[in-house]
């Protein structure tokens, strides 16, 4: 493993295929090895990322306000929201599980949205964090993304499991739909964000929007 004197592929006129990692001269339309379309950087990365993040923010509102599930017990119906579920778990004394759900359903999605907005903003502005720290922040965000689906899975499992006639039934609520939407849209936003843009700024050139 030799660092070729801090030289980037772009500065050598090379683009890396996103599918097979082959290095080809910038301007090649399709990868000669795997046939995928070639781009030096993700096309319109920042614009698409921001559009997806805004969509996620909008979906995040009903995800928290609407009930994620209903419990019908002996004729009475109880609706619970995501936060309500965490409160219930604390009351039941399951602090570790309450913490898991709080982290997965509240901290990760909101933290992820904030982190991604910050990363997009930092590409064009002066940032306090070094490119390496921002890359680490990006990779953490990317890694955490799917763990937010826990709450949706919990609803799916409880709905499938708990249906005891008129005694006890659990039904899903629309927050499950909007919350699953938040998770998927932020995962796509993370995929669309091209972290190489963070580093391109070091070479003092804003040519990255070209393919």
């Amino acid at each position: 493993m030799v660092d070729t004197h801090g030289v980037t592929a772009r500065s050598r006129g090379l683009a890396s295929c996103h599918a097979c990692l082959k290095l080809v001269p910038v301007g090649t339309h399709h990868c000669p090895r795997c046939g995928s379309p070639m781009h030096l950087r993700e096309v319109d990365s920042l614009q698409r990322c921001v559009a997806l993040l805004i969509t996620a923010c909008i979906l995040y509102i009903p995800a928290n306000l609407l009930p994620i599930m209903y419990t019908d017990q002996l004729g009475s119906t109880e609706a619970s929201t995501i936060i309500g579920g965490v409160v219930l778990l604390i009351k039941l004394g399951s602090i570790p599980i309450a913490a898991i759900i709080f982290i997965a359903s509240v901290m990760v999605p909101s933290g992820k949205l904030i982190a991604m907005f910050y990363l997009v903003w930092s590409v064009r502005s002066k940032s306090q964090l070094s490119p390496r720290q921002r890359t680490l922040l990006y990779r953490t965000t990317e890694f955490m993304g799917k763990w937010s689906m826990v709450d949706v899975f919990v609803v799916a499992i409880l709905v499938a499991l708990v249906h005891l006639g008129g005694l006890l039934v659990i039904r899903p609520g629309y927050a499950a739909l909007s919350f699953a939407g938040v998770v998927i849209v932020t995962m796509i936003a993370a995929e669309v964000f091209d972290s190489r843009l963070i580093w391109d700024a070091l070479e003092g050139d804003s040519d990255y929007s070209k393919t």
Binding site: R10, V155, L167, E191
Partner: protein, 208 residues
């Protein structure tokens, strides 16, 4: 314009060119500038991928065929199987959620495993197959959308949530799914994008 650099990788996270041709079996390379994982050269990578994938598919068959969890209260019992998880959500009027759940916990992981088999079987036997490149392009992307380990955590959280309401017991399929998630993770971890594509390229050259 420069020629391509055969033994180098451009770090996907920061674009630094890193020479990896001197990498020996058992070693892995990390970007010296940003710390991003680049590639790992493993011994018997194909046979590992093949055996883990096959075993994972068997475990998945077990996981979808038997009771997953059962729940009983006041003399009544309800039993849940894995395919029912998306189906019940569908019946309650949330088909989009049902499709996502089915995709993330069953369909995408299963498709990933099949693709791993179709990719690594020809590579293992050194035979060319017309679908190799398609598999190689898709499998690394698809695997990001498998959420098997997240689902396991979901099961554990669900158990805690309803433990006070009634008696819950774990079925054979639950253990099948736990085995599946471990084997799936091992199969994915054994496959390296850079090494696989280097092998595909070599195979294509000898194939003519």
């Amino acid at each position: 314009m420069n020629e391509s650099e055969p033994g180098s990788i451009a770090c996907h996270a920061c674009d630094l060119l890193v020479e990896v041709s001197s990498l020996k079996t058992g070693q892995s390379a990390i970007c010296p500038r940003c710390g991003h994982f680049l590639t790992a050269k493993r011994q018997d990578a194909h046979s590992k991928v093949l055996s883990y994938s096959l075993a994972a598919l068997v475990a998945l068959l077990v996981a979808i065929s038997f009771p997953f969890l059962s729940f009983s209260s006041g003399g009544l019992e309800s039993v849940m199987t894995l395919p029912q998880t998306p189906r019940m959500i569908w019946e309650y009027g949330l088909p989009a959620v049902a499709i996502m759940v089915a995709a993330f916990i069953i369909l995408i992981p299963a498709a990933t495993l099949l693709m791993l088999l179709f990719l690594c079987l020809p590579l293992h036997f050194g035979r060319w197959a017309p679908w190799i490149k398609t598999m190689g392009r898709w499998v690394f992307h698809l695997q990001n959308w498998a959420m098997v380990e997240v689902f396991i955590i979901g099961v554990i959280v669900s158990l805690v949530k309803i433990a006070k309401m009634a008696t819950v017991s774990l079925g054979l399929s639950f253990w099948g799914y736990v085995a599946f998630s471990i084997l799936f993770t091992l199969a994915i971890a054994a496959l390296d994008r850079y090494q696989v594509w280097t092998e595909i390229e070599a195979l294509e050259t000898t194939h003519g």
